[in-house]
């Protein structure tokens, strides 16, 4: 797959987000880790879209993440439940995708 210069920079943006998150999480609060992971999913789905790769389920997942991720700032308990819920829902989707 060939990418143009702008697409290359976008890929580097995503990579740098993860690498610098790893650096920061050496010393940041533990709960930032899950937030960074979810934010990375949101950015990854946006990147896929920019590269012309579409998936309706992932679009919906991104929307849910973007709506719920800031629970971290207002209600950490609800944020934790949100993370667990996303895992369950994703597992259900994976069952469909793999025809389990």
């Amino acid at each position: 797959m060939e990418v143009d210069e702008e697409e290359r920079v976008r890929i580097y943006e995503f990579v740098a987000y993860l690498v610098s998150s790893a650096r920061g999480l050496l010393v940041e609060p533990q709960v930032y880790g899950p937030f960074r992971c979810l934010e990375a999913v949101s950015r990854f789905v946006r990147l896929l879209d920019q590269l012309g790769i579409k998936d309706a389920y992932l679009d919906e997942l991104k929307k849910k993440i973007d709506e719920g991720k800031y629970l971290l700032l207002t209600n950490e308990e609800e944020f934790r439940k949100f993370v667990v819920r996303l895992n369950v829902e994703l597992a259900q989707e994976v069952r469909n995708v793999l025809n389990l």
């Binding site: 920079v9 580097y12 943006e13 740098a16 987000y17 690498v19 610098s20 998150s21 650096r23 920061g24 940041e28 930032y32 960074r36 934010e39 800031y70 700032l73 207002t74």
Partner: protein
């Protein structure tokens, strides 16, 4: 400023500014912040107090779009697109020279905290929004901005015109915070 009603008015205004300031993560796209506003903010902010009057703060104002994009790559805590960033550094050598070991180990952090709050309130008073960012790769940002070795990059302040103003996160009640003796 001898009139007590003037003082009360100013105090009320300042209380309102403190209570209505929010962390802004969504800025108006394509709307730049005039240089003169940033200059006015920093001109006033330099009057903030600092231990031993060290004034060890150093401000790098970034408006170059490519450089902002590069900095953002290494700043996981930077959400949203801001047209300007004020990178607040501490000249650790100056802090030590003026305030000794206390200056470069602890006091500089307090001083930077004070000046950052001053900047945030001044920006808010001028209709701007700010996001005070501490989650970034210090080493990577210092490299991108070619920061002198004796400076430490402490905080990035994203500045722009707010597109959305969030509700405030909860605050602890006053009686949990204060002990009177």
């Amino acid at each position: 400023m001898d009139d007590s009603s003037d003082r009360k008015g100013i105090a009320d205004l300042l209380i309102d500014l403190v209570k209505t300031r929010r962390t802004i993560r969504t800025f108006k796209r394509g709307v730049k912040v005039p240089r003169e506003l940033i200059e006015a903010i920093l001109e006033a902010a330099r009057w903030s107090p600092s231990g031993s009057n060290a004034q060890e703060w150093r401000f790098i104002v970034v408006t170059d779009e490519k450089l902002l994009r590069a900095m953002k790559m290494f700043s996981p805590g930077w959400l949203g697109e801001a047209p300007t960033a004020i990178v607040v550094c501490a000249d650790k050598e100056r802090a030590y020279r003026i305030a000794g070991e206390l200056g470069r180990s602890k006091m500089y952090l307090i001083d930077i905290g004070i000046v950052v709050q001053t900047i945030a309130l001044l920006a808010h008073a001028m209709g701007l929004g700010t996001n005070i960012i501490m989650s970034f790769s210090q080493e990577a940002v210092a490299e991108l901005l070619e920061v002198p070795d004796t400076w430490e990059v402490v905080v990035i302040i994203a500045v722009g015109y707010p597109e959305a103003v969030p509700q405030p996160p909860p605050r602890l009640p006053l009686d949990e915070l204060v002990v009177w003796r």
